[in-house]
Symmetry: C2
Subunit: 221 residues, 2 copies
DNA sequence: TTTATTTTTTAGATTTGCCTAAAAATAAAT
DNA sequence: ATTTATTTTTAGGCAAATCTAAAAAATAAA
């Protein structure tokens, strides 16, 4: 029943899943962009995924994951995020280094391995970037969170995740001692560039661009 | 300088390495057999490995790993055996289950990952089957060992490794409480089938076939 | 509502790794 | 030393996943 997917197929499924978080239905160019490949390749692969029942594909219209496709995506994401926890918590990688290694580890297909890893790590609910880890049934804990850019002034909050996975952003944040669990509040919003001024306990305040404020997700206290 | 090898190339290199342990120079059919593929495929791939400078290949004569090929093989074997230690010591896999999972994990290419894993595991020198783990420079500890079939009568010895990787053999041994570190001596050799009778401390003795006795390596005390 | 632009798909090639069947080289047997 | 058998290589093809260039469809603009 669980079809054995190639690495390429897994990557397509995973990308479609991620794009669906923001767009509901995904189009060819966006996926080509995300996978750093060409639109023609997308069309080819989508026909295959369609025939395997993993996506609903309307030529020229767009596509979304089927129920099975969604299930498959959650398995891959579970693997990825559990490996990230392992790399950071056990092997002492820093959080900005783990993504590309986890990209490879996520394709090792052994349910037993992942379930044992999960137990070994103490069934973590969130990965080092604060993203939720699907359990072995594909259930994901949701957590009330909003982008830092939308946090009301002077409201205490905790950073719960960072959306953008680029090494540049993550090491900038690390250099500023900004990480998952950091407490902060917004002191000012500057309308001309939408940048914001944030303040940590016992630390001087810091100005952050709109883009960065959008990538940081917080949980108001 | 360190060429990026495909999974297929890595598997060829690794198989040639293993076959070279017993035969010095390897021939096409033996490798085809070992890799469960066809001789024609071997010829194809060997031309490629030759052109990458990883093997010395004499058409119709046989082939062996070059210095670079040997280096590459040791890296792959290091990965494989470290993952086996992780699976058994940390994730509590039994030693007969780990081989096929490690076959996949060994192809994750990140030097940093492996060196950190090595440190995390406490720089183990041997894997759960007793095989030596190359260090990050490719050095392997050697250990005086001989097949159980060649151990003299009534000489105490410790099991140091088990050569045959088949699940059947490994679970048979496990069921008889025979594992790395087990002490034993040979009580009788039966000439008509070359089976041997072995004796453990405080346990009744056991008869073992020639094939099994060949797969078990021991270190005489 | 035509025309222009953008998006998507088709057509045809390429690379990697494998295959079968046939030919060539080597080794073994008479 | 021939013939026979075995081993290895070549020749030609196939499937997966990619690509470029061109055609077709959908969308936006004039």
């Amino acid at each position: 029943m669980a079809p054995n997917l190639s690495v390429a197929e897994e990557n397509y499924i995973k990308s479609i899943y991620h794009l669906q978080q923001s767009y509901e239905s995904v189009n060819t160019n966006a996926l080509a962009d995300h996978l750093k490949t060409r639109p023609a390749s997308i069309t080819d692969m989508l026909k295959k995924l369609q025939s395997k029942g993993l996506v609903q594909y309307n030529p020229y219209k767009g596509f979304k994951l089927s129920r099975d496709g969604n299930k498959a995506a959650l398995i891959i994401i579970r693997r990825h995020r559990l490996w990230e926890v392992f790399l950071v918590d056990q092997l002492r990688f820093s959080w900005e280094e783990v993504h590309e290694v986890a990209e490879e580890l996520e394709h090792v297909r052994s349910k037993k391995l992942i379930d044992k890893l999960d137990a070994f790590l103490g069934h973590p609910k969130f990965d080092p970037h604060g993203d939720p880890i699907p359990d072995s049934n594909g259930k994901i804990s949701v957590r009330q969170q909003l982008p830092l850019s939308e946090l009301p002034l002077n409201k205490q909050a905790v950073i719960t995740s960072v959306q953008n996975q680029s090494t540049e952003l993550l090491s900038f944040l690390t250099s500023q001692h900004i990480m998952i669990g950091t407490r902060l509040e917004v002191k000012r919003k500057l309308p001309f560039d939408n940048s914001i001024e944030i303040k940590f306990k016992n630390r001087q305040s810091l100005n952050i661009s709109e883009q960065v404020a959008n990538a940081i997700q917080v949980n108001p206290l």
